[in-house]
């Protein structure tokens, strides 16, 4: 592969695959909000 092709492969991999990893880690660390708006006690977790 040429230098510029390798460079843009790395850019694409970091942006897209890195974005996937970052979004999975973000979701795993914060699966839900800490406090819900008013009335959340009336909505069950399965609803």
């Amino acid at each position: 592969m040429t230098g510029i092709a390798i460079t843009f492969f790395i850019v694409a991999a970091v942006l897209v695959w890195g974005g996937l990893i970052a979004s999975i880690v973000f979701l795993a660390r914060q699966p839900q909000v800490k406090t819900y708006p008013d009335g959340s006690e009336l909505v069950s977790d399965d609803d």
């Binding site: 592969m1 092709a5 897209v16 695959w17 996937l20 979004s23 819900y36 708006p37 959340s40 399965d46």
Partner: protein, 394 residues
């Protein structure tokens, strides 16, 4: 191993395998298409009839990992073919001058729009089965990045294989022909597979992946229709599968498994996607954001239940960028279809199969909306309430 098509895979696929005739509506079935299509519909209706958890969810849990593994094997195999690196150079070498061409940006927007199946109703339907307290935007990021991640892997596999094909033919990559849509999957790829070492395994993995991708996509689109009928008429998943699914299966088999099936499928797909879906997306964004002015409330709702917050930028993307770009795409496509026609098919045929598809979609949408709900949809208490969302914004 050699390709069943020998030196003319295109002629074999279109003429011998599909027995394609001139544009029209043939009643002559092609067994090689009819039998697999019936089998696929039986499997799809069985999955849909089993409901979300036992049907669609289970099918996706089985098929999607299998699809990823099969495709990864394909990509790794492709990387070791002669000429693969030439293909990857073509894939990853940018043409910066193209950035000044607005059509490239429109094409990129169109690509990600259809690739994420925006406005098909799939994400709204799937998310309706989640808890009302469920995080919405953070999983959406995972879905969008996962989609693009798989596309890069698929692109690497496809371009490495095309590099091999160009190497075999002694031509440059940009001189290869038949690289779009049906031609790429069913004519060019089989031709390449027939020439490469380990071709039968490669071919089985490729077409196996294609079947799994198609099956899960078909399930997602049909689940939208099934859920809509279940909600509107108060019927079960099994009833929706038998009544609605069977009707769709019959129409599909009658139209698409005959000697004119490929042409009809191609024409219906062209109009339904590029005019029907794009038109629906424009209508949805303009109505929600500009007519009913619910953008701020929607953004507040998403942020209230999600860990990734959205605000004015999200409203700008949904309310301005999306309708502007989509409207341009729609206008350009309508002008092209009206002035140039499509694939050289006769005008009467395009009027029936193309514009007729749009008429059927509109009549279906209007008549289904006019029918009475089994249970009043307004008999529902929204949460978070509009008032509590306003409080949160302060």
């Amino acid at each position: 191993m050699t390709c069943a098509g020998g030196d003319d895979p295109g002629g074999f696929f279109v003429t011998e395998f599909l027995q394609t005739s001139d544009p029209g509506f043939s009643s002559q079935f092609v067994p090689a298409v009819l039998i697999p299509l019936v089998l696929v519909w039986v499997a799809v209706l069985a999955v849909l009839g089993s409901g979300i958890a036992k049907g669609v969810q289970r099918a996706n849990i089985i098929f999607l990992p299998l699809l990823v593994v099969a495709f990864l094997i394909l990509v790794v195999r492709a990387l070791f073919l002669d000429g693969a690196m030439t293909g990857l150079n073509a894939f990853f070498t940018p043409d910066f001058s193209a950035l000044g061409d607005p059509n490239v940006w429109i094409a990129a927007y169109s690509q990600i729009f259809f690739s994420l199946s925006i406005a098909f109703g799939i994400m709204i339907t799937y998310s309706s089965y989640r808890s009302r307290k469920a995080n919405v935007t953070a999983p959406a990021l995972v879905v969008a990045f996962a989609n693009s991640s798989f596309e890069i892997i698929a692109g690497i596999g496809v371009f490495a294989t095309l590099g091999y094909f160009a190497f075999q033919q002694g031509v440059a990559i940009d001189e290869l022909e038949g690289l779009t849509g049906v031609g790429l999957s069913f004519i060019t790829f089989p031709a390449i597979v027939s020439q490469m070492p380990g071709g039968p395994i490669f071919g089985a993995l490729f077409f196996g992946s294609l079947v799994m991708a198609g099956f899960t996509s078909l399930l997602s689109v049909l689940q939208v229709v099934s859920s809509a009928f279940q909600d509107k008429f108060g019927i079960t998943a099994r009833q929706a599968s038998i009544r609605v699914g069977s009707a769709l299966a019959i129409v599909s088999i009658l139209l698409f498994s005959t000697t004119t099936g490929l042409i009809t499928l191609d024409t219906v797909d062209q109009w339904a996607n590029n005019i029907g879906i794009v038109g629906a997306a424009i209508a949805a964004t303009i109505l929600v954001i500009w007519v009913f002015r619910r953008g701020p409330e929607l953004a507040a709702h998403l942020s209230a239940v999600s860990t990734f917050k959205v605000g004015r930028l999200w409203q700008l993307l949904v309310g301005v960028l999306a309708p502007v770009v989509l409207l341009y795409m729609l206008t350009q496509r309508i002008i092209a279809l009206v002035t140039e026609g499509y694939e050289g098919y006769p005008l009467w045929y395009l009027a029936v199969a193309g514009w007729g598809t749009i008429a059927v979609i509109l009549i279906g949408a209007i008549s289904m909306t006019a029918l009475r709900w089994k249970h009043d949809p307004d008999d529902f208490t929204p949460w978070p309430s509009a008032d509590s969302l306003k409080e949160l914004k302060k």
